[in-house]
Amino acid sequence: MTEELRRRVRDFLAAHPFTPRCDSWAGSYDLDFSRELGKAGLLAVSWPERLGGGGGTAVDRLVVTEELLRAGAPLAAHWVGERQIGPTLLRHGSPELQEEFCPPLARAECTFALGMSEPDAGSDLASLRTSAVRDGDGWRITGRKIWTSGAHRASHLYVLARTSREADRHDGLTEFVVALDSPGITVTPILDLRGEHHFNEVVLDEVAVPGRWAIGRVGEGWRQVVGQLAFERGGPERFLSTYPLLSAVLAAGLVDDTARRGLRALAARLQILRAWVLETAQVLDAGGSPVVPAATSKYLGHEFELSVIDWARPLMPRATPAVRALYDQALAASPASGIRGGAAPVMLSMIARDN
């Protein structure tokens, strides 16, 4: 199965030309490419067939994403929806919600952005203030989300909001699906280090949301989102963002004696990280929530991505513009890799607490 899948991905990539990019899962957006992947059965491979998936496992999905990231393919359009919204709905959503969203997600017809962070709630996500109040059968959501990647292009927004005030602030949170074309939503661009429009501020002003779009149990959002973080952090994109640079440097024959020594260290970390994400996928397949293993691979993955850049730097004066472009992409994206999805020191703190 694994071999067959890898081959299918490679065949697909050969038949759908693209310019490889570093950080392609976050920064390289091509909706047509994502839809072609969907048609080829390479999205949602781990979801049940009746919901538009491939009926495979998380390990199968890992194989597919590894090969796509390795090549630097444009994946940003479907990434959030396929990586974590679909799986969250499969774990916590009602059958109705699953049927409404999973099949279009698997075809990249519907795309998601993640509305977790807020101006005053970053590392301390549980302090978020966006609130959802009952309105007839549905809800009205009001608040400000920030750093919302891709919200200017997505069809839907995942929102974590407070539905009641409880003694423990981890209680009373609820997860919602929100249509981004709903009245009351304003999306404002925020430019990144390369001056590119990647993330946004999203203001929600009494946005109407149907009752059936609350995910899982009302007030149980924190417990659900903690599980979701294993999907968000535990994948190969947390160490393969700069891999297209590594690959291009090797192909260009730029490796000298010093770089060869460095390559051994990189190969060692790559081997470790690939073993870790495989373990995480296996735990997911067994129904577990490998939150700490996911934090661990995310942490070391960030270090690995930075080491690739440091390793490539002295070789760049001899590089062609195409290789140099990959280096520039990697470098510009590098500060984000230790922050997005949870800051590196916070990961370490979680790892330390785990017994």
């Binding site: 390795r70 690959s247 060869r260 790559l270 073993a275 942490y299 703190s349 790892i351 330390a352």
Partner: protein
């Protein structure tokens, strides 16, 4: 007792036996017990061409448990020397040039000259290693890695225990974010060591290229993380950790001694890391034990 009656996972039973042992203790007496319990002969029947994974697992389990307990016995050296070539006595201390550690001078089998004592107080010699087949080197190295892994796990457990029990500034040290960050890094390092060690162990029954690659990367990781694990564990453990009474003390000495022993291999085998992406990608894939192949 034959190896076949040994538990597949010797780690637990060895840990139980050594729980009450003193450090450094009486080497000859500890060695007598080890021999009596069958630890020294685990690999006697190992086949060189197709090493049995359960025997290797048993050997790794025993060596790891000793390392975790901070017990410096010449078990791994003897296991390598005896592997597939049993000696007539079960209690001989033996060495092989792939794992001459450090026990060479006091070995009953193999005569070497003592050049000094390492940090774990183990006698060493300076006999240059002859050409050694890859598989024998790998077996020896996997046991050295396991011993370091055990000692590292023991060191982390001690550091962790200390920072959760020790109260300063009115609360346990572990409540201080900087302390937690340091402890988190320590655990990531140990996990790295664990993963590369496991990978070499699995690939002992794989093809030469895959094995040589895992060996080269494991040595690199060990050389980087082991000294850092020792330093960090001590940083967390405060002055108490350096004392003769501290359990950490014995793990650290083993960690340093084993790491220094690894330095003698220098860059040997580093060319097993390909400078070509397709090969690199395939060699970094986790080895799947069931299929005896790397999943490419």
């Amino acid at each position: 007792m034959t190896t076949h009656t040994l538990e597949a996972d010797l780690d637990a039973s060895v840990s139980e036996v050594i729980a009450g042992w003193e450090r450094p203790g009486d080497l000859r007496e500890q060695w007598r017990i080890a021999a009596e319990l069958g630890w020294t002969t685990i690999l006697d029947d190992l086949r060189a061409d197709a090493p049995e994974q359960d025997l290797i697992d048993a050997a790794c389990g025993a060596v790891t448990a000793l390392g975790r307990g901070g017990i410096a016995l010449p078990l791994r050296q003897t296991l390598v020397a005896r592997a597939g070539t049993p000696l007539s006595t079960v209690d001989a201390i033996a060495v092989h040039s792939a794992a001459q550690g450090i026990w060479a001078p006091i070995a009953d089998a193999g005569a070497f000259e003592e050049a000094g004592r390492d940090l774990a107080n183990r006698p060493y010699s300076l006999v240059p290693a002859a050409e050694i087949p890859l598989r024998r080197t790998a077996l020896s190295e996997v046991l050295r890695l396991q011993e370091m892994l055990g000692a590292a796990q023991g060191a982390v457990a001690e550091a962790r225990r200390y920072v959760t029990e020790r109260v300063q500034f009115g609360k346990p040290l572990a409540a201080i974010p900087a302390v937690r960050t340091t402890l988190g890094q320590l655990k990531v390092d140990v996990r790295q060591l664990e993963t590369v060690t496991h990978e070499v162990r699995l690939r002992l029954s794989g093809d030469d290229g895959a094995l040589a690659f895992a060996l080269a990367t494991a040595r690199e990781v060990a050389a980087t993380v082991v000294p850092r694990i020792a330093q960090t564990a001590h940083q967390l453990h405060g002055a108490m950790g350096v004392t003769y009474e501290a359990a950490l003390h014995w793990r650290t000495r083993l960690l340093w001694a084993d790491c220094d022993e690894g330095a003698r291999w220098g860059d040997d085998g580093a060319d097993a890391v390909p400078v070509e992406e397709t090969a690199l990608w395939s060699l970094t894939a986790p080895y799947s034990a069931g299929t005896n192949a790397i999943s490419r």
